[in-house]
């Protein structure tokens, strides 16, 4: 076996495969950096080129891409506060505050080193696990999966911030939004308001970008400054690497978490980062800086989201069952080059397996290296006045959302989620808790339902893994509750004072209205279709009523009461416009797009926005508008992606690209 390992390495680095590996890495970084695209889209782009390639070259290219998306997406998450792909949502929590503080270089460097380390650990685990993992994966039945998902939910404890009640409210709201659409057990359409777009549920991209990116864009606009408060991006490149070395325990543990969760088909890569983040916070002694720019928050997440690919390849290769969206296409690619994934391939074509593993390890290191090279320039974006960046960010975010189903509903969903995100942020409700609830909803419901059908309680009690996982959850809850970090994960920290309380009361009343609507909507459903949302409502309603009572009691010492807006108006200067002001601008942009289509809409919006908000002259405005139009024309032409159409295009048939 060792000789196979050695020869595959030599073959890989001495043949043209290395060039293809490099190509895969570069494409992976690009799709990682662009919020519109992630690993799944990147793999799909690659597939046509794979056909007809020599198998080793194809393997190297596909693995190269797979490996580094989670390295590239870090750049956007840390520098812009926008998730570059679903895998690095949690990176934002500490990475973006670091960038704002002028420590972008340190955060990026720590992230890259952690990514490379996590990726290599993932490759090592894959090497060791590939021949023995089958019984382990089969030992995880739906019952065990359910407990793992619940372990994910238990992380809400450490992500709640100052008020656990509000964390739970946010999580339950996430569960409720997640429950929109076809019920897993009965296929009944829940809470779709007569709109079939919602039959598939609210897309993850709209939720992630809406809840994280839009509020951040608006907030930065209102400050009217650059992202970074410092005048340079800092010289922390070396410091970041040292940070990783100091916290090598975090790197090892979160890499292990990434591998395990990646290896279990069905949990999904978008949860790994949150579990890793929660774990990092739980096990840290000093929790006071998390959410404000603790480097461990970045390291933990980045190690896990690269190692997850090594884990995800285990079931892909030995069962032919992908562990993530991008490995699903990887699987398709293997079939296209004539390989049949499964135990037979792993055992008989060891060279194929080790080519993949070596490519994974090398790509992770190459990816981190490339990122180091380009980051210096990229990071300068944080020094640019934000009015110049904002229109690009808005255009990309809306375009990204539109790609999830190519329906106008995607744009509306993004706006709706953006509004929820803005107000969650304003009133100090944990957005991570909301997202965790949303992401895990489907898994909880499906696994709960399937576990009840597949097993009796007696069956479950006889499975030792169930007890082990149960113990892990109890321990996680114990530590989470005992040493709960009290710092605000949302908005600015500081004393929690608010003199005008009615906006918070209205927020809670609206949430209560959503609960009432949900109960009303599912009232006639079959038990299996309605039991989950009703349980969530039964849990959420008392929390909301409790919150309302606290607000009405006007006890300002209670951490439930929090409104960052009134704080800003009272104390903080530098905000030049209200929240509603920029919400209207964004609505105006979407309205324009609705009338005249995306490309014309974006051009008009750029001209208007820059003319009103920025000091740029007409020449500059024309240049910036031209650049964005050219960018979207190129991306839609070369990637064969549609641009949102407007009313104009429905009435008249116009030529591409405006048609």
């Amino acid at each position: 076996m060792l000789d196979v390992i050695a020869t595959t390495f030599v073959n890989l680095v001495t043949s043209a495969s290395l060039i293809y590996l490099l190509g895969g890495v570069l494409l992976g970084l690009v799709v990682g950096i662009l919020p519109a695209l992630g690993g799944t889209a990147g793999m799909a782009l690659l597939i046509p080129f794979v056909f007809g390639l020599e198998p080793n070259a194809a393997l190297a290219m596909m693995t190269g891409l797979l490996a580094v998306v989670a390295t590239g997406d870090t750049v956007t998450s840390i520098l812009m506060g926008i998730p570059g792909s679903a895998a690095s949502q949690a990176t934002i929590l500490d990475g973006f505050p670091l960038a704002k503080r002028g420590e972008a270089a340190r955060a990026l460097s720590a992230a890259y080193v952690a990514s490379a380390a996590g990726g290599v650990i993932g490759a090592m685990v894959l090497t060791a696990a590939i021949l023995v993992a089958r019984p382990i994966i089969l030992a995880f039945g739906t019952g065990e999966m359910l407990l793992l998902v619940l372990l994910g939910i238990s992380m809400v404890c450490v992500l709640s911030g100052s008020s656990l009640v509000k964390g739970l409210i946010a999580c339950a709201l996430g569960l409720l939004v997640g429950a929109v659409g076809a019920a897993p057990a009965t296929s009944e359409y829940r809470m779709i308001m007569g709109n079939f777009y919602l039959a598939d549920g609210v897309p993850l991209v709209a939720v992630a970008l809406g809840v994280f990116a839009l509020p951040e864009i608006i907030d930065l606009l209102r400050r009217d400054a650059a992202i970074s408060s410092a005048m340079s991006i800092g010289r922390g490149w070396l410091q970041g690497a040292i940070d990783c070395w100091i916290h090598k325990g975090v790197v090892l543990r979160t890499s292990a978490i990434g591998c395990l969760i990646g290896a279990l088909p069905g949990i999904g890569g978008s949860v790994v980062d949150w579990i890793a983040y929660g774990h990092t916070v739980q096990t840290a002694r000093d929790k006071s800086q998390f959410g404000k720019g603790d480097i461990r928050g970045v390291i933990g997440v980045e190690a896990s989201n690269n190692s997850v690919q090594g884990g995800a390849l285990v079931p892909t290769l030995i069962f032919g069952i992908p562990g993530s969206g991008s490995t699903a296409i990887f699987l398709a690619g293997l079939i296209l080059i004539g390989l049949q994934p499964g135990m037979a391939m792993v055992e008989q074509n060891l060279d194929v397996t080790y080519t993949i593993i070596w490519s994974l390890a090398i790509a992770n290191i190459l990816g981190a290296g490339f990122c180091f090279m380009i980051s210096g320039q990229m990071a300068k974006l944080t020094l640019v006045r934000y009015v110049y960046l904002a229109p690009y960010m808005l255009a990309i975010v809306f375009y990204a959302s539109f790609q999830s189903s190519g329906d106008w509903g995607d744009m509306v969903a993004l706006i709706a989620m953006g509004l929820i995100g803005c107000y969650l942020r304003r009133f100090g409700y944990s957005r991570p808790a909301f997202l965790i609830g949303f992401v895990l909803q489907n898994n909880i419901e499906t696994y709960l339902y399937q576990t009840m059908q597949f097993y009796t309680l007696g069956d479950l009690a006889r499975r030792p893994l169930i007890w082990i996982l149960f113990a892990v959850i109890v321990i996680s809850l114990y530590f989470g509750l005992k040493h709960r970090p009290k710092n605000q994960t949302e908005g600015v920290s500081g004393e929690l004072s608010a003199t005008t309380l009615w906006p918070q009361a209205i927020f809670l009343l609206l949430a209560l209205a959503a609960v009432v609507y949900c109960v009303y909507d599912v009232r006639k459903f079959y038990l299996l279709g309605s039991i989950f949302p009703l349980t969530v409502c039964a849990f959420l309603a008392p929390l909301l009523l409790y919150g309302l009572w606290r607000v009405l009691a006007r006890d300002l010492s209670d951490p439930i009461l929090f409104d960052s807006e009134s704080e800003w108006r009272l104390k903080e200067e530098g905000y030049v416009a209200s929240l509603g002001h920029y919400v209207l601008w964004i609505l105006g942009f979407v309205g324009l797009t609705y009338l005249v289509g995306f490309l014309i809409g974006i051009a008009l919006f750029f001209v208007l926005f820059l003319a009103v908000k920025s000091p740029a002259g007409w020449g500059g405005i024309a240049l910036m508008t031209g650049a964005v139009v050219a960018f979207f024309m190129a991306i839609s032409y070369f990637l064969v992606l549609d641009l949102p159409r407007g009313l104009l295009q429905n009435v008249y048939r116009l030529p591409w690209p405006i048609g």
């Binding site: 799944t40 046509p48 009944e188 359409y189 079939f196 598939d200 969206g325 499964g342 064969v640």
Partner: protein
């Protein structure tokens, strides 16, 4: 820098004009064109792999060797992308759609989300597929010969949803008289196999290529017992043994063994029509409504040459199973059989889904 932008812009504008040029009326030539092969499902799924398998051969045989791009438009279990195609696609031969059983089924069940109409399209190729049902060895069977041992035994079966293709299998099991409890919420067929390997379900089926790759090793290791293959339709429309699995009985054979008589009656007719839409004519390449005859002819000719390509034939046995890809008039005939279900069968299926499995065709 500005110069680069200008050049890029000029190039793009150039390609725009090119793209906007109308399809030539006389000799159809796709030289330099881009053809979008729309798959209303995510990349990596069965339909996607199928389309990507055809893609290079289409490029090779379409006149002018155009670039063929597989374009994924997922959402609404295939309905959303198919609706888009129906409403938007231009009849210039530059856009084709690959449909599948799970797009056919909601159409047949009059799902209110369906805005497409198969009868307005031109079918140019039909890919049949098969499937094999298999059970846990613990149920006491050695082979399909012992199928009567299943009588009275309770088995679980994992399905992707009430109106999904998996329900064809449920109907098949029910007509056989098997006692099957359906568990919903699977994310794909592969999930069913994983549940089977974990011992959570007693019976499962996989389509041909997945069965060959992933279940046959289990059978060899004594961890699964194959029961029967669905079978394929002969020229008279009768179900015969699947050529990919000559040693496995067809569904009709096991039915006769179970019941001692040939299948008949309204429920059999209903099963057969949904089986046809789901398997015998599972994947169809169609051109949009209003496509002129000369473009249709060019596509038919190209597809005909694809399926006669020796390399294609050699590879397709492995990738698509040992099935005859229906082209030319056969394609149209098979598609007609698949999308024209007689009203009695349709009513019977709907009633069966509603009363037994809580199917709600109309969301309120």
């Amino acid at each position: 820098m500005r110069r680069i932008w200008l050049v890029a812009l000029a190039t793009l504008l150039g390609s725009v004009m090119f793209r906007a040029a109308p399809a030539a009326a006389q000799a159809v030539d796709f030289k330099g064109k881009r053809i979008e092969f729309i798959i209303p499902f995510a990349a990596g799924g069965g339909s996607d792999v199928w389309a990507r398998f055809f893609q290079p051969y289409l490029e090779k045989y379409l006149p002018g060797n155009p670039t063929v791009l597989v374009k994924n438009q997922p959402g609404g279990t295939g309905i959303a992308g198919t609706n888009q195609f129906h409403l938007r696609a231009q009849p210039d031969g530059l856009t084709v759609l690959g449909t599948t059983g799970s797009v056919q089924l909601p159409y047949l069940l009059d799902d209110p989300r369906v805005k497409y109409e198969y009868k307005e399209w031109t079918s140019i190729m039909v890919s049949p597929t098969g499937g094999v049902s298999y059970v846990q060895p613990a149920l006491g069977l050695k082979s399909a010969d012992d199928i009567e041992k299943l009588k009275g035994q309770k088995m679980k079966y994992g399905s992707q949803g009430v109106s999904s293709l998996d329900m064809v299998a449920v109907l098949a099991y029910e007509l056989l008289g098997l006692d099957v409890q359906v568990v919903f919420g699977l994310k794909g067929r592969a999930d069913g196999r994983l549940a089977f390997e974990r011992g959570e379900v007693g019976i499962d089926y996989q389509t041909t290529s997945a069965y060959v790759k992933n279940v046959e090793p289990l059978v060899k290791a004594g961890k699964a017992v194959p029961l029967f293959a669905w079978g394929v339709l002969d020229e008279k429309g009768d179900v015969i043994r699947d050529p990919t699995f000559p040693n496995l009985p067809s569904y009709v054979e096991v039915y006769e063994k179970m019941h001692g008589k040939k299948p008949a009656g309204v429920e059999w007719e209903a099963y057969k029509s949904f089986f046809t839409a789901g398997f015998a004519a599972q994947k169809i390449i169609v051109l949009p409504k209003g496509t002129p005859a000369n473009i249709v002819a060019v596509w038919r000719e190209a597809i005909g040459r694809v399926v006669r390509d020796p390399e294609f034939i050699a590879r397709s046995k492995n990738e698509l199973g040992d099935y005859k890809q229906a082209v030319g008039p056969d394609a149209a005939t098979l598609t007609n059989v698949a999308i024209n279900v007689d009203p009695t069968s349709k009513a019977w299926i709907k009633n069966w889904l509603v009363t037994k499995y809580n199917y709600k065709p109309d969301a309120d």
